[in-house]
């Protein structure tokens, strides 16, 4: 397949991101004329449209873009670390752990807002803690005196995911109808809780992450040759693994905590970008970040507008669009192999 120049691809994706942001800001239950966008930059003139833009839509589109960028760039990193183009950031147990945390909080009725200054609901904090806890267990299981084994981590991740699934099921089993509905809605992945505290906490993690991860690109490229090959090229493999797993757990942990389990973004976006610009992580990671932001923004905008004024869960849209698209990619790849 012909490759596109990475710089050209990243600039085009950047333009698409700006357009997707505008599109997300302007579409929704109430019609807002495009001219009102300029009002975002002023702090007076508080009419209704202005408030909708500033308090509802802006945090929502920012959250979608940041979470998408975070999930996709972490996906690119995980695929490199596991040397498997079909790896997903949830492999290290972070999403399923977050599910346990979230359902635990729902079950025990934690609706309170933790720390009035931060304004994050307990469910967000619970999910984040659950995700980190699960990942740390997976990491510990895979780490011995000789270092961290990526293969063991994959298996430990599967085991912990299964265990977390069972615990979440237990919570669902004993939950009453209202709790059950909230648990399953949370698991579908939804951005409808978007507000400034969530958008800001996402940004606080996502922006440094997106700036730092591409620096590991060269070392990740060497990792694809094999772990010992990377070592012979002077890469400190163990430190790098630890750092990348920690960063991914943080990034995906926050993304899942504020938006639930949004499927497929972390898997498909890096795969797609790799098909277009090649596997060099120095470009793959930033390219995935931007395309991930665009895709989650568009999916979320669709989720908000398709059945307006009702909203579909965002995760349902990404999976509905993502799965057939992924099958298409696989078929195309197979055709190329045969023909």
């Amino acid at each position: 397949m012909r490759r596109y120049s990475p710089i050209k691809f990243i600039s085009l994706a950047g333009v698409a991101l700006v357009m997707a942001l505008l599109c997300g800001l302007l579409s929704g239950a109430s019609d807002i004329p495009p001219s009102k966008i300029w009002g975002l930059f002023s702090f007076k003139a508080l009419d209704m449209d202005h408030q909708i833009l500033q308090l509802i839509r802006l945090p929502r589109v920012l959250l979608a873009a940041l979470a998408g960028a975070c999930l996709a760039s972490c996906g690119a990193v995980m695929q490199g670390l596991f040397r498997n183009p079909l790896a997903d950031p949830s492999l290290i147990g972070v999403s399923s752990g977050a599910s346990v945390g979230a359902s635990c909080v729902i079950f025990f009725g934690g609706t309170s807002v933790i720390g009035s200054g931060i304004g994050l609901p307990a469910i967000v904090v619970g999910a984040f803690v659950g995700g980190l806890l699960a990942t740390s267990i997976v990491y510990r299981l895979a780490t011995s005196v000789t270092g961290t084994s990526v293969a063991t981590m994959l298996l430990a991740g599967i085991a912990i995911t299964a265990l977390s699934g069972a615990i979440t099921s237990l919570f669902s089993f004993f939950a009453d109808n209202e709790m059950l509905r909230r648990i399953s809605l949370w698991q579908m992945g939804n951005l409808d809780g978007a507000d400034w505290p969530r958008a800001l906490s996402m940004g606080l993690v996502a922006i440094p992450l997106i700036l730092v991860l591409p620096r590991e690109g060269q070392a990740l490229n060497a990792m694809l040759l094999g772990e010992s090959e990377a070592r012979h090229l002077g890469v400190d493999v163990e430190t790098m693994k630890r750092r990348l797993i920690l960063l991914t757990a943080l990034g995906v942990g926050v993304a899942v905590a504020v938006s639930g389990v949004v499927a497929f973004v972390g898997l498909i976006v890096p795969h797609l970008v790799r098909l277009m610009i090649g596997p060099d992580h120095r470009y793959l990671i930033p390219g995935s970040a931007i395309l991930g932001a665009v895709l989650l923004l568009l999916a979320d905008t669709a989720a908000r507008t398709l059945m307006s004024p009702a909203e579909l869960p965002t995760g349902v849209i990404t999976a509905l669009l993502g799965a057939p698209f992924f099958v298409g990619l696989l078929l195309q790849q197979r055709k190329r192999m045969v023909g």
Partner: protein, 256 residues
């Protein structure tokens, strides 16, 4: 100079290597031969620091291997493994460029070296081709170019060492010859080369020093014409062979 002192390795109670003393001198080819399971690959992995010995040590230019900074070591010591797990569609150029990761010589210089390394292994035509679509021999040549690019130029910190594990296993006759020429060329620049080969004649024709391993022990060491004897081959490989002389180069030839 890369040397091992009283190097031993046991894994799960099995003694894989016992008291191996070996020196890889600059400007010389050292070839390790021995039957399957003799410990050749284990020795190689110890010598490049991939695994730690149970006892004994590996010294590189006067310092123990773990005393070196990984980046600095990578500028002087480069290793070609037997097979490669790479299954991402990097182009040949991108793979060879990875050999320059430990260096900070600038992009222009790196491109120049990558071009030269690809040309040297006869792989210039592979330049933009995805690694995943190459034949076994092509992949091996690209990997060879990568490890050559890694130690292309002398380093200010000391001697360069090139470690090759079965470098010619995937090659046809012409490319085997080409690989030997390349190795000799690097040796002339003062690089110390350590290789593992199965083909005794190949080993005899290029090595300055032959190292014979059997059951984890070093059983013979020295110039090929001194080491290769009917008795040794009988004892180590369990094969009755005759030893002749190569009509053109004069190096010993093992005829089974």
């Amino acid at each position: 100079m890369l040397e091992s002192r009283q190097l031993s390795l046991s894994i799960a109670g099995f003694k894989l290597l016992q008291d191996v003393d070996l020196q890889v001198c600059p400007g010389e080819v050292t070839a390790i031969i021995g039957p399957n399971g003799a410990g050749k690959t284990s020795l190689l992995r110890l010598l490049c620091g991939e695994i730690k010995p149970s006892s004994g040590e590996v010294i590189f230019d006067g310092l123990s291997l773990d005393q070196w900074q990984p980046k600095q070591l990578a500028r002087m010591l480069s290793v070609l493994p037997q097979g490669s797990a790479l299954n991402f569609p990097f182009t040949a150029r991108e793979v060879v460029m990875m050999g320059r990761i430990p260096h900070a010589t600038g992009l222009a210089k790196d491109i120049e070296i990558v071009d030269a390394a690809l040309a040297l292994v006869g792989g210039s035509y592979l330049d933009k081709r995805p690694y995943t679509q190459m034949s076994g021999g092509e992949k091996q040549r690209v990997q060879l170019a990568r490890v050559l690019a890694q130690i292309w130029e002398p380093d200010t910190c000391g001697d360069r060492v090139l470690i090759l594990d079965e470098p010619t296993s995937a090659f046809d006759l012409a490319h085997q010859q080409l690989t030997l020429e390349i190795v000799k060329n690097f040796v002339r620049q003062g690089v110390g080369v350590l290789l593992v080969v199965h083909d005794l004649n190949l080993a005899a024709s290029c090595a300055d020093q032959l190292v014979v391993l059997n059951c984890g022990r070093l059983v013979a060491q020295g110039a090929p014409e001194h080491v290769l004897s009917v008795d040794l081959i009988e004892q180590v490989f369990n094969v009755t062979a005759s030893i002749g002389v190569h009509p053109r180069t004069g190096s010993p030839m093992v005829i089974v």
